[in-house]
């Protein structure tokens, strides 16, 4: 394809502008975080005496270790179980094509567009009735359910595209459903599963509404939900608030930079299928 030089240049320039605009708020956070904690910072400026100590203070005052621990616990509670349930259901709907499966699929798809805000009030009273309110379980149980429509949809989309000849061949060789599932279907499903795992991790880690409503103590929430705690703690110090927020977003960014290829692919596919 031929493109003129001006077009190419214009494209590059615009891309640079977009990159600068994307990074600006993050750089501005860093700039604020490095200014003296007891003063109102001013815009973008590299301070003559960068206060790296702000990060230490924010880390301690924010009980970041405990927060990370709580978040990891919630992720571990949500992601593996969701993957397992969705794989089983996706296999039943996509590969076994059970009778009545079409209705079940539509039933799940209907749940795709329900905004969490529409359910948050009853979820609160449900957690109260179950005695899970103010514990991590109040976040874990509903998230498994809320992610289920997407996860089932996702795994079914994978299994439905696996050629049926493969499983037929396995059955002719005398494999039962379980053996066929483990030896043939599961290895083939690994890319779909890992992409789903990435998405679920990100959505759980960044989940805000459920933690804020269902868990009163910010230290028992996800890191994202704990940001309100930071806002309360550092109400009077913008540098510390920004330092705290930067600490909070760093782990996800580090994981993203390590697995960026997988992340971008997962997010793009996730968008298309959702």
């Amino acid at each position: 394809m031929r493109t003129s030089r001006t077009e190419l240049l214009l494209g590059r320039v615009l891309l640079v502008v977009a990159i600068v605009l994307t990074v600006a708020p993050l750089v501005s956070m860093l700039s604020a975080a490095l200014q003296p904690a007891d003063r109102n910072p001013t815009g973008l400026s590299w301070p003559t005496d960068p206060q790296w100590g702000n990060f230490v203070t924010a880390f301690e005052v924010g009980h970041v270790w405990r927060l990370m621990g709580s978040s990891v616990l919630i992720v571990l509670g949500v992601v593996p179980v969701s993957l397992l349930f969705a794989t089983l259901a996706g296999y039943a709907l996509g590969a076994l094509r059970v009778r009545g499966g079409r209705g079940v699929l539509i039933f799940f798809v209907l749940g795709l567009t329900i905004p969490f805000e529409a359910l948050i009030i009853p979820l609160y009273y449900q957690a109260q009735a179950m005695g899970t309110l103010n514990t991590q379980w109040a976040i874990i149980f509903p998230l498994i359910g809320l992610f289920m429509p997407f996860s089932v949809f996702w795994m079914r989309a994978h299994f439905v595209n696996v050629p049926p000849e493969l499983s037929e061949a396995a059955r002719v060789d005398g494999a039962n459903i379980w053996q066929e599932f483990r030896r043939i279907q599961l290895p083939l499903a690994t890319p779909a599963l890992s992409a789903l795992a990435i998405l679920l991790f990100l959505w759980t880690w960044n989940q805000f509404l459920l933690p804020v409503v269902l868990v009163a103590n910010p230290l028992d929430r996800t890191v994202a939900g704990a940001l309100t705690f930071f806002q309360g703690q550092y109400y009077s110090s913008i540098p510390l608030l920004n330092a705290g927020a930067l600490i909070i977003i760093t782990p996800a960014i580090v994981v993203f930079l390590i697995f960026q290829r997988q992340f971008i692919r997962a997010l793009l596919q996730g968008a298309v299928k959702g």
Partner: protein, 303 residues
């Protein structure tokens, strides 16, 4: 060799066994979905017909809570705000994404295109609540936005953007644009990559300019991606919560109040559980009413 009737009988038995196992595999997923989505939804519908403060006795009030959604200025105002946000969450990101994607589609794979993809995706990785905090500081009186205006000699425009009645809603909306534009651009870029390049060559030989090329090839070729992005971003706009919560709390006054935040306020601060539940159901139906036509349109266009 077995008798055909017997063989058919075993085949039927095997089919029945597969159905049974299949339904068994569906049980966990269905249980989670029924228990934590369908059941709360049913509870929400039930609450919405009562006047209840969450503790005391609930009184049946029929559809009164629903009528109030369409009569109360605060509730209606938040719905209006949500629709205004669509301009910033949907129109700007998809529009800018289209322009960017068309202009950089020729970018060859290399470190620069990789870097730009990574950077444009960053806002997708950080929590929306953190985006709200970052931008609250960008927009502050002494923040970066005013500083940049100062550099450009536009210092007279400086103001605390989120505290100003006139600018708060657009300013909050632009946070959404910031979050979503990267995703739109990258998704549209992959879409453009799938369009047959010979189409472009043909229309260039035909002597078509940039605009005709855009409207006759690029735009129709991206129909599916655009439908996906519009659906996704419209849902994000109508059910926004995190960004508003950490940047403006709905203020100043009710200038940036959105349904999600108002449901939270009515339900937990004012303890009007019935009203909040009714508003939640209305929000859900609103999202459906906007999203379903988009889906249908894109599907009709595919045929």
């Amino acid at each position: 060799m077995s008798h055909p009737v017997a063989r058919r009988a075993t085949a039927r038995a095997a089919a029945r066994r597969v159905t049974l196992i299949g339904w068994g595999l569906l049980v966990p997923a269905l249980a989670a979905y029924l228990g934590f989505v369908v059941w709360p939804l049913a509870l929400g519908v039930q609450y919405s017909f009562y006047d209840w403060n969450g503790v005391g006795v609930a009184t049946w009030v029929g559809v009164e809570n629903y009528l109030k959604v369409f009569a109360d200025q605060a509730l209606l105002g938040s719905i209006t705000n949500a629709f205004i946000l669509i301009a910033f969450f949907t129109i700007i990101p998809v529009g800018v994404g289209l322009v960017l994607a068309t202009l950089i589609r020729s970018l060859r794979a290399g470190w620069f295109s990789n870097l730009s993809q990574t950077v444009l995706f960053l806002p997708q990785i950080i929590p929306l609540a953190a985006a709200g905090i970052a931008w609250a500081w960008m927009y502050a009186q002494t923040g970066t936005v005013n500083q940049v205006f100062g550099w450009l000699g536009l210092g007279f425009l400086a103001r605390p953007w989120l505290a100003d009645y006139g600018t708060a809603l657009p300013a909050v909306g632009l946070i959404g644009s910031w979050v979503l534009t990267g995703l739109c651009t990258v998704l549209l870029l992959t879409g453009i990559g799938k369009i047959d390049t010979s189409l472009y060559e043909a229309i260039r030989i035909d002597g078509a300019g940039w605009w005709r090329e855009f409207f006759t090839i690029t735009l129709p070729g991206l129909r599916q991606e655009i439908a996906v992005l519009v659906t996704l971003t419209v849902i994000a706009a109508l059910s926004s919560f995190d960004i508003i919560y950490t940047s403006t709390q709905g203020g100043p006054g009710r200038a940036t109040m959105v349904p999600g935040l108002l449901i939270y306020r009515i339900g937990f601060t004012q303890s009007d559980v019935g009203q909040a539940s009714a508003f939640g159901i209305v929000l859900m139906l609103l999202v459906l009413a906007v999203v379903l036509p988009i889906q249908r349109l894109s599907r009709a266009a595919d045929r």
